[in-house]
């Protein structure tokens, strides 16, 4: 029931007086209101802007936040008002919905912020009034397309477990993913160009001996051209077969436009090979050569503009159809008229109506070859009308096609621009994320530093060093600290550089085949690494952490993690640490050419340490828990 008519309920109930005298049975007892509340004004304070309305107004829609008892959660006892920490401008629309029963969408508002506000207040966007619904839907669709574009870009990311086939397919679809793909891309492009140029040059008349007539180059250097053609077709065939092999769905690939173009491009060659040099079929064979020109369409894989053009034509199919239809109508009309107008004149070229079609087309498209011209006055009059109308008929659907093309082209431009900006954005986001984790380490250092100082000497300056962290930060750090303490051997968070560096060292030391001199240090490095792995292994939340305690494999995995670190550039969610956690199971070849090497490591002695450990590279034993390394780059 529309809430607007809730105000009319008393009237409807009163109208029941018409039923009572005719009713045979008594009416049921009417419900009574338990607490008969007088209608009162309530104050809604939205971020400082006060809105006032009757309570009844809000009660009209009981399944929303304001209409139900949910708003009691926002009631402020002292000021006797309902406080919402939301956008007051959007709230205007929300409140007007209660007042008038119609929800409007303000055009200047961002669609996602509006959606969020509606979701907060429990209003379904579908009840937006007709006046604003179209605009709302359009904006929403635009936004969704934009988000979809972003999501599609994520598909470029390399998944960890890709079979050879999938890698190949990905290389074909996105040449930028690897150098091999790029090479392949350029090679095929080159050969397409070569093939097309060959076809063209084949027909150019080459110089000939003075007695014979001019022959085209194709007939003069038959062998050369044949070899060229063969080479190109070989390349194309190989490419097609590779694509067919790599395609995730072969049936769908074979139906796609590009594969059909590929097939049509190479088929004439094979047909020519198969067919014998028979006089009858050679004529047909010659015409098959025409299909070789389809090779030029293979360029559409290389050119985005061409693809956009094709897509535009496809999406404007109805406009093109209309254009064709109206042109055909006009051609038939004018051809008929011209034919009958010119029938009288002698030696008229307008021999039949179909013959007049040619004149009409040439005139309407303003070509005007002049091979057929009207001679009678009536013919000339109708001819001029024909050319004028031709301009109009063609000019009408063309802007629609153009605007479609422009829209799609700009969309593509925007997508490219966004992709380029995305990398920079993600880099910035990563920096801020590592910043927050660094803050924890920094505060830990400072905290411990302070503790040390308190024991030794407390001067004013050193106490000032203690960073005044906000309550939120300190609670967050406490939480991370608790997590550290929970883990079995008191793992600690460390920062990225030190982590990489330590595993680089450990990797160098623990890979025996690399440097023979390390064998003597095996025992030491074993414990070194063990201790190190115990210390600096990031706490894994699951119990499988225990299985990764062997130093060798442990190092391997983390080396692999290092490798992944250097190649990961689009990982929107993770910091280096969590990404390492994900890849913990995969051993991979060591990559000891990691570029991040710290120059110095200083270890700060901690209060419970009885024997100070000044050694830069050896960490304290497991008994010493609070060793903190500071790396300076």
């Amino acid at each position: 029931m529309a809430a607007g008519v809730a105000a009319w309920l008393p009237f409807a109930r009163a109208a029941a007086i018409g039923w009572m005298p005719v009713a045979n049975l008594p009416m049921p007892v009417a419900p009574t209101e338990k607490s008969k509340r007088q209608d009162e004004l309530i104050i809604l304070n939205v971020s400082g802007r006060r809105f006032q309305t009757w309570r009844n107004t809000l009660d009209r829609y009981p399944d929303t936040l304001l209409g139900s008892s949910e708003k009691e959660f926002f009631y402020n006892e002292e000021t006797k008002e309902y406080f919402f920490d939301r956008d007051p401008d959007v709230f205007r629309s929300v409140l007007n919905f209660y007042r008038t029963g119609k929800l409007h969408y303000p055009r200047y508002e961002c669609i996602s912020s509006y959606d969020e506000e509606l979701a907060f207040f429990g209003i379904v966007p579908e009840i937006i009034g007709d006046c604003c619904y179209e605009e709302y839907k359009d904006r929403k669709r635009e936004n969704a397309e934009r988000l979809m574009d972003d999501q599609e870009d994520n598909k470029d990311a390399k998944l960890p477990n890709m079979t050879f086939r999938e890698t190949m397919w990905r290389a074909f679809e996105n040449p930028h993913t690897s150098t091999m793909a790029l090479v392949f891309y350029y090679v095929t492009g080159f050969f397409i160009a070569v093939s097309v140029i060959t076809n063209v040059v084949e027909t150019v008349p080459c110089g000939s001996a003075p007695n014979q007539k001019e022959v085209p180059c194709g007939e003069r250097y038959t062998v050369a051209f044949f070899c060229m053609d063969t080479a190109c077709v070989m390349i194309f065939t190989v490419e097609y077969l590779m694509r067919l092999f790599a395609a995730p769905s072969r049936y769908r690939f074979m139906r796609s436009v590009m594969s059909i173009i590929d097939v049509v491009a190479i088929l004439p060659y094979y047909i020519g090979l198969v067919m014998t040099d028979n006089e009858d079929v050679s004529g047909a064979f010659v015409t098959l050569r025409v299909f070789r020109v389809f090779r030029i369409f293979k360029f559409s894989r290389h050119s985005q503009g061409l693809r956009i053009l094709g897509y535009t034509l496809k999406s404007c199919a109805s406009e093109l159809g209309f254009l064709l239809f109206s042109l055909t109508m006009a051609i038939i009309i004018f051809a008929t008229v011209m034919f009958y107008a010119e029938k009288g004149s002698s030696s008229s070229k307008f021999t039949s109506i179909p013959a007049s079609f040619w004149y009409t087309i040439v005139t309407m498209t303003t070509l005007g070859y002049g091979d057929m011209v009207p001679k009678t006055i009536a013919g000339k009059i109708f001819g001029s009308i024909c050319s004028l109308s031709g301009v109009l008929v063609i000019a009408l659907p063309v802007p629609v096609i153009v605007s479609n093309f422009s829209r799609i082209y700009h969309q593509n431009q925007r997508a490219d621009k966004r992709r380029a900006q995305k990398k920079a954005r993600l880099a910035r986001i990563r920096i801020s994320k590592t910043g927050s984790s660094n803050a924890f380490l920094h505060s830990k250092r400072n905290g411990l530093f302070n503790e040390a100082l308190e024991l030794t000497s407390s001067t004013e300056e050193e106490q000032r060093l203690s960073k005044s962290t906000s309550l939120l930060e300190s609670q967050h750090h406490h939480l991370l600290h608790c997590l550290e303490k929970t883990t079995v051997s008191n793992h600690e968070f460390v920062d990225e550089q030190y982590y990489q560096q330590s595993y680089l060292d450990a990797g160098l030391q623990n890979y025996p085949s690399r440097s023979p001199s390390l064998s003597s240090q095996d025992g030491m490095t074993g414990t070194c690494c063990t201790r190190r792995s115990k210390k600096h292994h990031t706490p894994l939340p699951n119990a499988s952490a225990a299985t990764h305690m062997q130093p060798l494999t442990h190092t391997h995995t983390h080396q692999q993690g290092l490798q992944e670190l250097s190649t990961i550039h689009i990982q929107p969610l993770s910091t280096s640490r969590s990404s390492l956690n994900m890849r913990v199971d995969e051993p991979a070849p060591l990559n000891c050419q990691s570029s991040q090497i710290t120059t110095a490591i200083i270890s700060i002695p901690t209060p419970p340490v009885t024997t100070p450990e000044g050694d830069a590279h050896l960490p304290a034993g497991p008994a010493h828990q609070n060793v903190v390394k500071v790396s300076a780059l």
């Binding site: 029931m1 105000a7 309920l9 409807a12 009163a14 109208a15 007086i17 045979n24 007892v29």
Partner: protein, 253 residues
């Protein structure tokens, strides 16, 4: 262009037949036709007539004027005196009324529309029509706030006799002081129409007629085929069921 449906291309052929105005989509408005004719007539000096164009133009203006005229009720204090509602109650009622009808008067269409929203299953238009006739005491095709609130006051806060009088007024369609069988049949049909088809047990076609018969049997004392106001009042006051049902209106507002 793709979004436009195919149907539109077919229906737009109507504009070639001049059956509707291509700009607004409505049937060609009469005034524009008249103005073209008037313009043509004006060009001919012999046909120039003074009064005709202005009369037609005034009627057009009148129509637009009527729709924008606002009915305002008299002062709230007077209404408090005329009805049994308190000032606050009148304020609440007026707010709801004005919200739904900003022009200040309800016409029959709006009446029917509002009423049909309360009875979605059946067809309440006939009953709403009878109600409208009963509410519209001034018989001018519109119910303004005063009519509305006075009738409500009688129904909800009036004495039993007043209520029964009002009900009689509702039943008496031609307001001649007695309810004939035809009038009662109409009323009964309209009430049964409100129920709709989907009832349990399913409605028999003779149900309204039977009901009318039983009504007349109960009410018509002297068996003259009509029920007068005295018979009606007398019977109803003796009937316990009806008296008990009257309490239904005690706390509607």
């Amino acid at each position: 262009m793709k979004s436009r449906s195919q149907d539109q291309s077919l229906t737009d052929s109507r504009e070639l037949d001049r059956s509707y105005d291509p700009l607004t989509g409505n049937p060609p408005s009469k005034p524009s036709k008249r103005t073209i004719k008037q313009r043509f007539l004006k060009l001919l000096p012999c046909c120039r007539s003074g009064s005709n164009p202005s009369v037609t133009q005034r009627s057009v203006a009148d129509d637009s004027e009527l729709s924008t005229v606002c009915y305002r009720p008299e002062g709230i204090d007077r209404l408090v005196q005329q009805t049994n509602f308190s000032k606050k109650e009148l304020q609440v009622l007026y707010r709801g009324f004005k919200n739904e009808c900003p022009s200040g008067a309800v016409n029959e269409e709006t009446f029917k529309n509002i009423y049909s929203q309360f009875f979605p299953q059946g067809d309440s238009s006939m009953y709403a029509h009878f109600l409208f006739e009963a509410f519209d005491t001034q018989n001018n095709g519109a119910v303004n706030f005063e009519d509305f609130v006075i009738s409500l006051s009688i129904i909800l806060r009036g004495s039993v006799t007043d209520k029964l009088n009002w009900a009689f007024n509702l039943y008496d369609l031609n307001k001649d002081g007695c309810i004939t069988r035809e009038e009662m049949t109409d009323i009964m049909h309209s009430i049964y129409d409100m129920m709709g088809k989907y009832t349990y047990p399913s409605m028999k076609d003779s149900a309204p007629k039977d009901h009318v018969d039983s009504f007349f049997q109960k009410m018509d004392r002297n068996n003259d085929g009509v029920v007068t106001i005295e018979e009606f009042l007398e019977t109803c006051q003796k009937d316990d069921n009806i008296m008990q049902s009257m309490h239904m209106f005690d706390n509607v507002i």
